[in-house]
Symmetry: C2
Subunit: 602 residues, 2 copies
């Protein structure tokens, strides 16, 4: 389906709208301030010299470029003079310090002059990609193309060096990103060289550089057309697959699409947390093996879930399957938004599904046990996630609607207005706080409504045909869809060892967790009957987080016996279990936390 662009869609109210506003009012500024304080903004002055503080890091360009892209997408909808001024000042400096041949990179200009394109793993092309994306966003948002022209010159420089001269010390980037960025650029400029260069980097991957050390870590172990399993660094993998899916769409490449479908299935059916988190290990921030989904050791980087959204979006362009919208929803409401504090100014990089503070010990041999941090922070050394949120949130409108022929597809539910060419739609809903969705469309004959995979019962005010996860209805008048928003139990596949005998609670698309601060210690002793949702439960709006908390009837395993091991069967004492949306974990300070609770199977 053809997705509607940000210019055509506007969020008008509700939960996602509030997150967008939070980003516009708080997060985008908080990230800029932290970047300013940490020397990332100042690095664009190209004034750093040995001995000065804030030596530019290889990924500073990308951090700031992602912030610029985020600011641009906000400017697409809002007049924000401060953001405009900051972006323009950055563009001034980019223009000033771009080299005559088009090259632009702070680290390689200031710290390692003369060494450009010598080290595949130093994020040079990755930084270029993020600058390209920012330039396109700013052009789309404001119509001003000064930045874009700079970046087109940089793209020409890269084309010359990598394709024509082949004079770089490597063939493809160690961290993918430029591929998808060039495709975005191509969509805006229509310049076939941008498409060609993206294709070049994609098709060369896994060829000459197959024999580098640990090639799977950055998906260089095989030519992309032979890759069927998601491996290595999760963010890199998702950026690569996103570009592959977009190239397949833009060029009608069925073979490449087939590869993408296998990769999508491998991720979502074998390697994805219930929160939409991906990357089971911090070693290499990477995928491991099928169904290896440890909860406490989960890495599940915020960026990886964001990048999973990108991949789904591009797949959605290829295929009219609701599954892509399901995955977007799972990741967005859980593993993506968990990366942002309710106040909008503190972040998580890793998003584990379990925290036991007592496990965060220091080895007697020295050094801490390698587990995720448990307190939200304002800036990371490698601060890729916060500006990734900056650029995702303003753009959420793009995930809502699509069109194929005479059919309007509704992929996500949020209060919004669509104004396409000869097509319009108004959606009123307080989803996911409420399951009622009211929709009026014009200019199409049919409307296809995604029925979330989690939803067992729904009502529609007219006949429908269910196909590939969508309810297809004839258009005309007000369409009323009501999704059942009672809490329910989710079980992992029995193939997932870590979750066997456990369940997690979900309400709508929102995954819940228990925190120690609400439930006393020892969360592993909490147990829920499989029919807990048939018992009375409490549901209460938490204004701070914008969603409901739950109190359900469960049990606590206790033992009358002392000592470490006993023959006495643990007893189950009835206890109210208090649950909060997973995406707000640790937002009241650090605490034990658990998504998967013991299930009382019978």
């Amino acid at each position: 389906m053809k997705l509607f662009s940000l210019k055509q869609v506007e969020l008008t109210g509700g939960y996602l709208f509030e997150k967008q506003e939070l980003n516009r009012n708080v997060t985008i500024h908080a990230v800029y301030d932290r970047f300013s304080e940490s020397g990332r903004i100042g690095a664009f002055d190209f004034a750093w010299k040995e001995g000065m503080p804030h030596q530019p890091h290889v990924y500073y360009d990308s951090d700031v470029a992602k912030w610029m892209e985020g600011a641009s997408w906000i400017l697409c909808k809002h007049d924000e003079p401060l953001l405009t001024e900051r972006v323009e000042r950055l563009i001034d400096r980019i223009e000033r310090h771009q080299q005559p041949d088009g090259y632009f990179n702070i680290y390689y200009t200031v710290c390692k002059p003369g060494e450009r394109f010598t080290d595949r793993n130093m994020h040079e092309l990755y930084c270029a990609g993020h600058l390209f994306e920012a330039a396109v966003a700013y052009a789309v948002a404001t119509g001003r193309e000064r930045f874009l022209h700079c970046m087109e010159r940089y793209a020409d420089c890269i084309y010359r060096i990598f394709v024509e001269e082949q004079s770089a010390a490597f063939t493809t980037p160690g961290h993918e990103e430029i591929e998808l960025a060039l495709l975005s650029m191509y969509r805006y400029t229509g310049n076939p060289r941008h498409l060609e260069l993206a294709k070049w980097f994609l098709e060369k991957r896994g060829g000459p550089e197959r024999d580098v050390a640990t090639p799977a870590q950055n998906q260089s172990h095989l030519p992309v057309r032979e890759q069927t399993q998601a491996v290595g660094h999760a963010v890199r993998a998702m950026y690569l697959y996103t570009a592959m899916a977009e190239l397949a769409h833009l060029t009608g490449d069925g073979e490449l699409l087939s590869v993408c479908k296998q990769l999508y299935a491998d991720v979502t059916e074998k390697k994805m947390y219930v929160t939409g988190g991906i990357g089971s290990t911090r070693v290499g921030e990477a995928f491991t093996v099928p169904c290896d989904l440890p909860n406490e050791e989960a890495y599940a980087e915020t960026c990886a879930s964001i990048a999973l959204l990108f991949f789904c979006k591009r797949m959605q362009e290829n295929e009219n399957l609701a599954s892509y919208g399901d995955t977007v929803e799972r990741a967005l409401y859980n593993g993506v938004l968990s990366g942002l504090s309710p106040e909008g100014n503190a972040f998580f990089y890793e998003n584990p599904l379990e925290i036991t503070l007592a496990d965060r010990y220091t080895y007697s041999w020295g050094g801490p046990r390698p587990l995720a941090i448990t307190k939200r922070v304002h800036l990371f050394d490698c601060s890729c996630c916060p500006p990734n949120l900056n650029r995702l949130l303003p753009r959420l409108g793009e995930y809502l609607y699509g069109q194929e022929g005479d059919t309007l597809y509704v992929n996500q539910y949020a209060g919004s207005r669509l104004h396409g060419e000869g097509i319009s739609c108004t959606m009123e809903t307080d989803y996911p706080r409420d399951g009622r969705i009211r929709l009026t469309a014009e200019g199409v004959g049919k409307v296809a409504l995604r029925i979330p995979a989690w939803c067992k019962t729904f009502t529609l005010n007219r006949p429908y045909e269910l196909r590939d996860g969508y309810a297809y209805v004839e258009n005309g008048g007000e369409i009323l869809l009501t999704l059942d928003m009672e809490p329910f139990a989710v079980y992992a596949s029995p193939r997932v060892a870590e979750d066997a005998g456990r369940l997690c609670v979900q309400m709508g698309p929102v995954v819940y967790c228990a925190e120690g601060r609400d439930n006393g210690g020892d969360l592993h002793t909490l147990a829920l009957p499989t029919d807990f949702a048939c018992q009375p439960y409490e549901r209460k709006r938490d204004a701070r987080i914008g969603l409901d908390t739950l109190a359900v009837k469960g049990y606590r395993m206790e033992s009358e016996a002392g000592g470490l091991y006993t023959r006495t069967t643990p007893s189950l004492r009835p206890e109210t279990i208090r649950l909060i949306p997973y995406n707000s974990f640790a937002s009241r300070g650090e605490s034990d936390m658990r998504v998967w609770l013991s299930a009382l199977l019978r």
Copy 2:
């Protein structure tokens, strides 16, 4: 209580006797052969030069000394000319290469001459300790004191350097062992300097060397009298605590005993696996924090469980509590014997409580996930465990009987004969294959029989008084004790997160596990009702391993739903679960394995 020495006790038949015989007939020779092939025996020629193979390692002396000690304890009971010849040839070389001042160490003589006692962490005093223990054993066993005299001279050398001159670069050893060895030597020689030197090393610990890097790793973080929590390297900790407990006994030091009791409680009530394994992490082969007992990542080194037996034995000398015998039994039948293959020639160093072969992946970033090996091996680079088995098994008789005043204590059950001074006893039993124990004692008025903590019901053919875990009876005629040997479920304390909602099966002292080869894959989907033992079950003698296997009625969790996450509650399909004694895991080749199975709590 006073424990009876090896000379006074003889195993006459049954499971432990068979293990002793296996050691005498196979293991002791297999270890010698591996040590010979790997250059450990040859190292005693002191002929290694740069460029030659088999450079002596810092712990080669100790490996071979432990083997010599094991051979000696065998010689205590049996005429084994080959063992005698091998030990004598080693003593020849020790005598020949001992330095004029009494010093003896292969590594520091051959590889680093002139650098003796400069590096606390190079196992020099640890090697000395093992040589001392071997020399005492050989003297006890054979009456020949040539080796002992060599080692007495070495002890004098150490006394001079550490106590008189204080000229070494350190004060206490990085790896404890010499302390308990000197106490053994003192018990044999009666030389007060041996006692004094042991005390010196113990009392200096945690004093001057408190500020080394990672002092907790080798228990140097506090003076020993201030240590109340088991920390650091598990084997080192146990060797230290063993010496402390023995010193407390030998000197009637109540304060030190009180410290030992706290340490014992900390280990057995907070940091010990159900198998008697200790050391929760491979990082530093060490203890972590209370109730952190991961099953798959368990380190649980064979040596650590063996050393726990040593500690218990010394505590038993201090106090007439059955708890020490309970812990000996738990460790011996499970986490110690799991280190030895049923054939007696292959070993485990780590003894995890869970193996999932699919989890043994290589990170995409390179390198394997750090988990225990899954195949029994014949020689380790650091081959401390096999000779530790060599020296433990011949000496098991020492764990059986004790005396306090007019009471004979029976701490372990095994077919055996005791001949003490004015006291004798015959025990007939096929324990743990059978719960009937028949006992006739002479020369005492009372007999105290340990009633294992795992035993809920037992019968005794006379009145008894239960106190501190012992059933005290009047002596006279045949005493018949029958322990209930039905399988039962064991639950971990709810404080142990890893085992919450799980149970393990035990029969007598033997912990059982399920292997993939008997139960298909996905052991995490197996579940047992808490009353499984009330259902009919099968029990079958496995001649190869010398114990019974079990087949019990349980369930397998299954899901009709596809995909990774579902609202469909898993179903429980009845399935026979086949269990084998934990101590024989992986003895038919590598396989998935699990001790703690899901429990169907109600």
